[in-house]
């Protein structure tokens, strides 16, 4: 397979994952502003930070308003992580690797792009937002469904999955990075109502507010939330789950190619750290430091994969 094709697949799935994540962050932000009587623009500040685009926003807008923040996250092409930018980039990469995709996967991607290009051609009225966000989740879900239902489980599949999970791990880690302070045990063991809203918002931004209840008996506790997002191997957006998938997909590649790279050691090291620590260890080490460390390792892994498999 061409190095450029592997690169294209990796980024196609990173961008689609990021588009979905941006939509989910907007969703969580909206929800928070509905639940709180004294909703502040600070909530949107957290969302912009989690998306990693606060600086770009400040370059473009005088002040922070929820309407501008939503528009910026949804459809501003000046924001490389906006839903529209991600779908543009994802689809461009898909066009580049067209020969590696099944017709179904390509068509789902192309239809998502055609639809959003028209839906997001103008500002979305607040009343229409929930429907638009649902549409985005549905269409990215269709891409994933077509991909899983029709693609051969070969190297093409592996590079796509690695892209998905590197991006997803990065997204979850960023949410934790921005909100780590509400998860610190020192703050309070019994959540105030403000804490409850914050906690629920974190869970919502990884679509885990329902499943959390099942796993932790419907009791909000910062250490449990951190455990769920970081160490729980059954939670599909947790760091441990993402790394389990990254390691297994890299493993398939190593077996097929008969050789491993620096990336393999890095990924395995991160996974074993996620497996062998308890949330108490993480908290003792310092949650913030742990997450920052994780993000930089995750970035390094991306670079090592790109080098090892000659993406450029």
């Amino acid at each position: 397979m061409l190095g450029r094709t592997a690169n294209g697949l990796y980024w196609m799935f990173r961008y689609i994952e990021r588009a979905e994540n941006s939509a989910r962050l907007i969703d969580a932000g909206l929800r928070m502003s509905l639940t709180r009587s004294e909703a502040t623009e600070d909530d949107w500040d957290g969302v912009l930070q989690s998306s990693g685009v606060r600086d770009i926003y400040d370059d473009l807008y005088e002040k922070l308003t929820s309407a501008d923040a939503i528009d910026f996250l949804l459809r501003d092409r000046a924001n490389p992580s906006s839903v529209m930018s991600c779908i543009d980039s994802g689809r461009n990469n898909a066009r580049m690797v067209r020969t590696a995709l099944t017709r179904e996967t390509w068509e789902a991607t192309n239809e998502c792009w055609l639809d959003l290009k028209s839906t997001l051609s103008r500002r979305i009225r607040p009343a229409d937002l929930p429907e638009v966000i649902d549409g985005i989740k549905r269409m990215t879900g269709l891409i994933r469904g077509a991909f899983h239902g029709t693609m051969l489980r070969n190297e093409i599949f592996n590079f796509s999955r690695i892209g998905t999970f590197i991006e997803r791990a990065d997204n979850t880690a960023r949410i934790l990075d921005v909100k780590y302070y509400v998860l610190l045990p020192a703050v309070s063991q019994v959540g105030s109502s403000i804490d409850n809203v914050q906690w629920e918002s974190i869970l919502r931004s990884v679509s885990a507010h329902r499943s959390y209840g099942w796993v932790y008996e419907a009791e909000y506790k910062p250490s449990n939330i951190a455990d769920f997002l970081i160490l729980n191997g059954r939670m599909p957006r947790s760091l441990a789950y993402c790394y389990d998938k990254i390691v297994s997909n890299l493993g398939y590649l190593a077996r097929e190619y008969g050789e491993g790279h620096a990336a393999h050691a890095t990924a395995e090291e991160t996974l074993s750290s996620l497996r062998n620590h308890s949330i108490k260890d993480v908290m003792d080490q310092g949650l913030h430091e742990y997450i920052e460390n994780f993000i930089s390792h995750n970035n390094r892994l991306g670079q090592e994969i790109s080098d090892g498999y000659r993406f450029n």
């Binding site: 190095g3 450029r4 580049m96 067209r98 068509e107 192309n110 190297e155 590079f159 190619y257």
Partner: protein, 464 residues
């Protein structure tokens, strides 16, 4: 489609029975359905200079253009003769130049031609084949009367539309293919791959590795490049994937660099090798021409074949065919005035209103004047350009092209068409039965180019 007495022409008779029984509203709905299929699949082309509509659909008309087996056989013979002559001509002008010595074609027309590549002099491509893929543009003016409009020996495009049009028709109207015995075109990608692989260079070890070279996703024909690579099961590469290593052209894969033996390139000569041609080109592969000349890669079509697409060369095709095949050309050329010649220029200027004037190096329907439909002002402006650079132009009469029916909201209406059959050259010449029929969708219009509002239809050659 019709005879003079308004009865359907013989190849259309079965189709006509079917058509008469159809609910017209259903056909219009099907037509929309076809458009949706194309949009969804992303069968698009880009129109340069249209920033807002970077990807467009080519309109598809669902009434097939039907050619009888008998008419096709005659046409195919003429095309085969012409393609053999084109290859012989290319081999000659890059070697002994006997046609120039014999005084049949003027020396300066060859040697001063921008599409003539001195780098090819004395070099013979693997198998002696220059034009691996040819798309000859043909118009029909009446029963058994065909004219060649252009030869397209450089990089003919549009074959993906031939294949997708057929695919769409078979999906929408399977019953038509039971009622009519239509010769298949679907195996084109296999034929293409085998044809390319059979011309692997002498330096090829083991099974020939074929790849398609594209300028990238922003090229107007990118869809076709990806489609053909996919259907042939070969890699689609860009210049940045390729590098010359140890005297071979190699592509960067996830496992390291691997050699390519046959490159089906969809980039122009100028962008092939920055060391030999345009130094500023970012698309090319530095050193590929040296690998080529050393016999370690096959480039299809060969560099320097573009000279056959020159419209001044075209005007000599009857002489060229006769010179190399020893027989009169079976297919006629459209009579052509070379404006470089004083008498012709005078005639052309006096008769602009009846002529089509084209640039010798032009393509895509750009930079031409269609005299009968142009305004007086447009003709006057064009006459100025003609006087300033006469050698840059040729002129042809407007032929009374035959028409075929298309589906419009009110039923069917006649429109002008041309036909581009695709030809593969290896140790044999294979002509795909059918091709791309392009149709001028505006009533009365003679311009069929997709960049100028033309559409396409499925083309049937019947087994009879």
């Amino acid at each position: 489609m019709m005879n003079a007495d308004n009865s359907p022409r013989q190849p259309y008779s079965t189709y006509n029975d079917w058509y008469s029984a159809q609910d017209k509203a259903r056909l219009i709905a099907k037509s929309k359905e076809a458009e949706n299929i194309f949009r969804k699949t992303g069968i698009t082309f880009a129109v340069y200079g249209h920033a807002d509509s970077s990807e467009k659909l080519i309109p598809f008309d669902l009434i097939p253009r039907i050619i009888s087996g008998r008419e096709w056989r005659k046409l195919a013979q003429g095309i085969e003769q012409r393609v053999i002559a084109l290859n012989a001509f290319l081999d000659d002008i890059y070697h002994k130049q006997e046609i120039i010595k014999a005084g049949r074609v003027p020396r300066e027309l060859i040697e001063r031609n921008v599409a003539f590549l001195p780098q090819m002099i004395g070099f013979r491509p693997p198998g002696g084949v220059y034009t691996h893929i040819v798309g000859t543009d043909i118009v029909r003016t009446g029963e058994d009367q065909f004219y060649v409009l252009e030869d397209n020996a450089r990089t003919p495009s549009g074959v993906s539309y031939m294949l997708e049009n057929r695919e769409t028709m078979m999906q929408m109207f399977p019953e038509l293919f039971h009622q009519n015995r239509v010769r298949p075109v679907e195996n084109y990608p296999y034929l293409l791959r085998h044809s390319l692989a059979s011309l692997a260079p002498p330096g090829c070890e083991g099974k020939p590795r074929v790849a398609v070279l594209t300028p990238g996703i922003y090229n107007s024909a990118y869809y076709e490049h990806a489609f053909l690579a996919d259907m042939m099961g070969v890699e689609l590469v860009e210049g940045s994937d390729l590098r010359v290593i140890d005297g071979k052209v190699k592509m960067r894969t996830t496992r390291g660099y691997e050699a390519i033996d046959v490159l089906y390139r969809r980039v122009d000569d100028d962008y092939l090798d920055p060391l030999t041609f345009k130094p500023e080109s970012a698309l090319g592969i530095p050193g590929i021409m040296d690998v080529y000349r050393a016999g370690n890669i096959t480039i299809a079509n060969a560099p320097g074949t573009g000279i056959c697409d020159d419209k001044a060369i075209y005007s000599y095709m009857p002489e060229i065919v006769e010179f190399y095949t020893g027989r009169k050309a079976l297919l006629e050329n459209v009579p052509t005035w070379r404006c470089s010649e004083d008498d012709s220029l005078k005639y052309v200027l006096e008769n602009l209103a009846d002529l089509v004037v084209k640039e010798v190096h032009g393509s895509g329907g750009y930079g031409m004047l269609v005299g009968p439909t142009a305004s007086k002002k447009e003709r006057a402006a064009f006459a100025e350009k003609l006087r300033a650079r006469p050698a840059n132009y040729i002129a042809q009469p407007t032929l009374s092209l035959s028409t075929v029916p298309i589906l419009v909201n009110k039923g069917i209406a006649p429109r002008h068409v041309d036909l581009r059959p695709y030809v593969l050259v290896s140790d044999k010449v294979q002509i795909i039965p059918g091709g791309l029929t392009r149709v001028a969708l505006k009533a009365g219009s003679l311009v069929v180019n997709s960049s100028q509002g033309g559409g396409t239809k499925d083309t049937w050659v019947l087994e009879d």
